[in-house]
Amino acid sequence: MKEIFESTLEKLLADQVTLDLVKASEEQGWMEPLWDLLQSSGFSLAAAPEESGGTGLGWEELNGVIELCGRFCLPLPLPESILSNWLLGACGLQGLNCAVSFAAENSLQWDGKLLSGSVRQVPWGRYVDKLVTVVGSESPVVVVLEPNSAASSSLSTNLAGESRDDFIFENYLPIDSSALPSNLDSQVLLKGGAMLRSAQIIGALEELLRVSAEYGNERVQFGKPITKFQVVQHQLAVVAENVAAARVSVQAAFEESGSAFPTLQLMAAKICTSDAASVGASTAHAVHGAIGFTQEYSLHPLTRRLWSWRSEYGSATYWSKLLGKSICEMGSEALWPTITSGDLNV
């Protein structure tokens, strides 16, 4: 199943997601035909259980799918829909066969019936039909909202031109709601978002490394390909090491994900991928020279995404501080057992 999903998506994205399409999405917005294609192929419901109308794939099986979205710079909320539908399924709700996104951050107040307050940084918020978010921290509840019904909105994009929108709701009756199961906490969408971005970053980084090596082998200066200069080789080797480490961290996070996300592994994944994104983007631009700094050349869709994604759903610093705090609280004797067992409760 995993292989079929991945190869089908890879073929579809390779056919459809051209540099022109990525650029067009920055100017024109929603790529409706492509979204329809993705949705009708069932990708957005992949992680929802069968009884919720999905395919019931586990996170380990979806790792490659999310990476492909990063590698091809897919300018649509497929990762977001997969996570949202997974959460709905986990709460016993039906998956949504439409474009759906989520808000990891909100200031919503809920009186048990009506909602008021804001949701922030919703990926593709202005285009999606529905969004999910979690309200309340004591006994958290998942609610489904329609961005169209917001009282007001504030539209914005990240560095890569991907929409990241805020909405304010006033006395709004959510179209669906359900209590979170006890193994999930109110931070589940922040954690899930960090998982998605980590996998997208690794997909983008592998592509970045590939195009940088390819460009470097072709570009001739001083009578030889620039990759024949040892400094260039070593810079790319450092990127490759960082990517190898980041890849392993993402794999571990997805492998350990089941009905909840593994805190320690997902922190490590977001920390390692965000660090690798910084190293990778900077070196790729150095190797490409001025051509890589142009809008026409296809490097920036990758690097502008890396610069955005490394900060979304917690930067390396955010997760490092949280992790360091709990390691210090537990004391030095707990460090090694924590590493080998992989268990951390924050």
Binding site: L209, A213, G216, N217, T227, K228, Q230, V232, Q233, H234, L236, A237, V238, A240, E241, N242, A244, A245, A246, V248, S249, Q251, A252, L264, Q265, M267, A268, I271, C272, D275, A316, T317, W319, S320, K321, L322, L323, G324, K325, I327, C328, E329, G331, S332, E333, L335, W336, T338, I339, T340, G342
Partner: protein, 339 residues
């Protein structure tokens, strides 16, 4: 890593040395992962495992893979008992990174080999019974041809071992001279002329193990103790980031072990583990001295200042031993198709 022969023998008695070797040679027939668990726990606890370290990691597996039946029977059981110690003779005064330029040589005279030359930086040679050395055995057209490996009994006439003090004054590495040392034919390890190939396979073991990221573990632990339960933002960030990388390095190292276990030669991945691991290990003393205002000291002070002093001075060697940073990056670049 401390040297303690008694400790090594006790470990051997428990079956914790040469675990992955076959039972008939004194091993436990354990898989690579069981061995991995044992050695990483030993390292994480700071156990004195230096005496048997190279034998367990490199020499035992090498003899098992390339040795004759007689060699296996004569060397492996003593390795497993923690009684027989090995050192690795690769570097020479004029051959460091450029290992293929070695000049020590063995010439076949009758049914013996006569060995001449010099090795240097040989860790533990002064405590070891044997050296597995890479030497030249014939002229060869190819840069990597004409080399072979020998198991050299260091008590033979003509072998001289002289310790070299390192920058802290301690004696860990040595120079070893060979003056017409007569080696029996059985000293040849593996095939004549295949030395280079055998050594590169061996280096994957050397470059990917948990010692590649656990040497500075002791400092990370005292750092957590010293910072205490309420770190400030900077301390929390640095300790968290190191923890994330430690977890990831362990996963990388396990993945290389998986490949080694499956009989592959994961030279590329092993080089990534080593260079990324070295970056991590060299960063720990740097972070440690920036996170708290404690003076490093070798003459007393608390655990923190002692461990900091020790690792600050050891750190430069991390990116030299087992292949320098530049050499590893060259290997990684080759894997990327850049050279």
């Amino acid at each position: 890593m401390g040297f303690d022969a008694k400790f090594s023998q006790k470990l051997g008695a428990r079956g914790w040395i040469g675990m992955a070797l076959p039972k008939k040679y004194g091993g436990s027939d354990a898989d690579a992962f069981s061995r991995y668990v044992v050695i990483e726990e030993l390292l994480a606890a700071g156990a004195p495992v230096s005496a048997h370290w190279f034998a367990d990691r490199q020499s035992g597996p090498l003899i098992l893979r390339y040795g004759t039946e007689e060699q296996k029977e004569s060397y492996l059981p003593a390795i497993c008992r923690g009684e027989s110690y090995f050192c690795i003779g690769m570097s020479e005064p004029n051959s460091g990174s450029d290992l293929a330029s070695i000049r020590s040589n063995a010439k076949k005279v009758g049914d013996k080999w006569v060995l001449n030359g010099q090795k240097v930086w040989t860790t533990n040679a002064h405590h070891s019974h044997y050296m597995i050395a890479l030497v030249r055995t014939s002229e060869s057209e190819s840069r990597h041809g004409g080399m072979s490996q020998f198991i050299i009994d260091l008590s033979l006439p003509g072998v001289e071992v002289r310790p070299i003090k390192d920058l802290t004054g301690a004696e860990h590495f040595n120079e070893v001279f060979f003056d017409n040392v007569e080696l029996p034919d059985e000293a040849l390890a593996g095939s004549e002329g295949q030395g280079w190939h055998q050594v590169t396979a061996e280096l994957a073991f050397e470059r990917s193990g948990p010692e590649r990221f656990l040497s500075s573990m002791a400092l990370l632990k005292v750092m957590i103790d010293e910072v205490g339960q309420y770190p400030d933002a900077y301390q929390a960030k640095e300790i968290g980031r190191l923890t994330a990388r430690l977890l990831t390095l362990r996963n990388m190292s396990l993945s290389v072990t998986r490949q080694l276990n499956a009989g592959a030669n994961p030279a590329w991945s092993a080089s990534c583990v080593k260079d990324f691991g070295v970056g991590f290990e060299q960063e720990i003393p740097e972070i440690a001295q920036s996170i708290l205002e404690t003076l490093p000291s070798t003459q007393g002070g608390n655990d923190y200042s002692k461990v900091l002093a020790y690792l600050t001075q050891q750190a430069p060697s991390f990116s030299l031993r087992g292949g320098t940073r530049e050499i590893l990056r060259g290997i990684i670049a080759r894997g990327l198709g850049l050279r």
